[in-house]
Amino acid sequence: MTMEASMPRNGAELLRRAVDALLARLPASWSLRPAPNGAGGDRAVDAVFTLTAPDGQSAVLLFEAKSVVHGRDVPGIRQKLATYSSQVDNGHGVLVARYLSPQVRAGLADVGVSFVDTTGNIRVKMSTPGFYLADRGADADPWRGPGRPRGTLKGAPAANIVRAVADISRDWTIRELVQVAQVSAGTGYRVIDFLELEGLATREERGKIAVPSWEKVLRRWSEDYSFTGDGRVTRWIAPRGLDDLMKRVARTESVNYAITGTIAAAEWAEYAPARSAAIYTANAERAAADWALRPADAGANVLLVEPDTDVPFVRTITNSAGLRLAAPSQVVVDLMTGPGRNPQEAEELMEWMKTNERSWRTG
């Protein structure tokens, strides 16, 4: 679908583009027309349209336009649209926004809020008349300029905080969190503010911070962190194969390492035989020498990463074979951002983590 290149300047243009986007995708036998004045009930509604099915059944679409929507805004929007639609016969609320991020869209879908953004992300669903329209637009804000810095979870401090709130099940004070994550208080506040803005953390009474979903935090982290994107990557071959390599790794203790990827995931949720090994190490050349690896390009079966942060080495697990594995929260994000079938393996591991939360999260 085509997308207008310029940023919508005001609410009216936002609504016009959203209605155009719906019209462009509407089946020929359906119609979408402005509703008569007063049909929308609440005067705060930004626009009111009538959607009519081929059999004459119709619904009243109540549009709420917002330039920017963060994850934490979702509950409020759901409430507002529910109030609007309760005042109108067969009313159905639709959020219109300039751009909606994948997390916000997932949050809206979870609570059943229909939405349209001007990049073409659409999900409108109702039962009377039976109607479902969905499309995919941009996954990154095309109008995010240098003048409007967006928070991220890039960098070591964010990584440390994400891993702490994922691995440890509790409500936190800022002081406790920065202590466990070993980051400065200022950085801690910045990261928590960002998590709050994204709807991933909430402030409880007396300043406690709650993280309702470690899964959402990890998924959000995977947008800003990846196994190969946040460190120095080197490629090697273990010529006698991965089982032989694992025996060698278990025998040597000279260099700090943490196994991640398919091999680590198999400890908790085996998915498919590993074709390659993915290992964090503080010193790739020394590890390669200890483990009898040879440099390789084509045919490599081992990826070594010297990470930019120490977080992959935090809360590692030593298995029965004597191998040091990265924590599940680290492994799952590495798999989400890995090649080949890694993302499916990540989902498999995520399922295991949800079912067995007590065996890997400490409280």
Binding site: I237, P239, G241, D244, R275, A296, G299, N301
Partner: protein
């Protein structure tokens, strides 16, 4: 295979298990993507310890084996279940015969009972007695038999591939993959020791030296060399051909370097 060993029970000391069965016995634990199971049996015969009686052809027929009509070549036998057995004698020990002679001339045994084959001398020198089970887990039979060692198997496979290199349709990728399987299952130093023993024995020295020259060109020169490429291709769609090819070349280079040092 056990049927063949049973047929030649009286010649047990002269019979050495070679080929895929021997590779399987030597590398059963090597983690590779191809299944090892094969019903073909290749046996090397040592003329130095082969008795006159019973005659090999009579022993084979008595155990239900007949000359394999599909090949029409000496030494190829098959039983009623379709189990093929090849009996082969290392060329330099196979008696008189010109370049076109195919049968081993070991009277009083029939000239079509066993086939002469290049490169098998090493299997008579590098072998140990091992316990051999049936492929079928329901078959309880167990035999003690001489089985070729890993160094001898590498020599034999090198000859097999090198001899066919000019007729690519006769090249079988599985042979190269068997070599890869041996290389990853055995550490370089013990394997080099096996080669040193072969080079020190008059029966196998020339064959082994020749095989090492071929391995230099066909294996160690890099992942694009003939045997690494074949080994990798054998895993196409199952494993990782590039990794197999590179491993084959690197481990052969390691072996040759170890031998040059000594």
């Amino acid at each position: 295979m056990l049927d063949a060993l049973e047929a030649l029970a009286d010649h047990r000391r002269a019979v050495v298990v070679i080929g895929a069965q021997a590779v399987y016995l030597r590398t059963g634990s090597a983690p590779v993507a191809l299944a090892e199971a094969t019903k073909d049996s290749d046996l090397a015969i040592d003329p130095r310890t082969l008795r006159d009686d019973p005659r090999v052809e009579a022993a084979m027929r008595a155990a239900g084996f007949l000359p394999d009509p599909r090949h029409g070549q000496p030494g190829s036998w098959v039983n009623a279940d379709g189990i093929p057995v090849d009996l082969m004698v290392p060329e330099t020990l196979a008696g008189v015969g010109g370049p076109t002679t195919r049968g081993a001339r070991l009277p009083p045994h029939d000239r079509r009972a066993m086939r002469r084959a290049r490169g098998l001398e090493a299997t008579l020198v590098d072998s140990t007695v091992e316990t051999v089970n049936a492929l079928n887990p329901a078959d309880p039979r167990v035999y003690e038999a001489r089985v070729a060692g890993p160094a001898a198997l590498l020599v034999a496979k090198t000859f097999k591939i090198a001899d066919r290199i000019d007729t690519p349709r006769r090249l079988v990728d599985k042979d190269a993959h068997d070599m890869y399987r041996i290389l990853i299952a055995k550490e370089t130093e013990p394997l080099a020791d096996g080669f040193r023993r072969l080079l020190a024995d008059g029966v196998s020295a020339a064959t082994t030296a020749h095989a090492l020259d071929e391995m230099e060109v066909l294996m160690a020169s890099g992942p694009q060399a003939t045997i690494p490429v074949m080994a990798g291709r054998a895993e196409a769609g199952l494993g990782d051909p590039e990794t197999v090819a590179l491993s084959t070349a690197l481990l052969t280079r390691d072996l040759l370097t170890a031998l040059k040092r000594s």
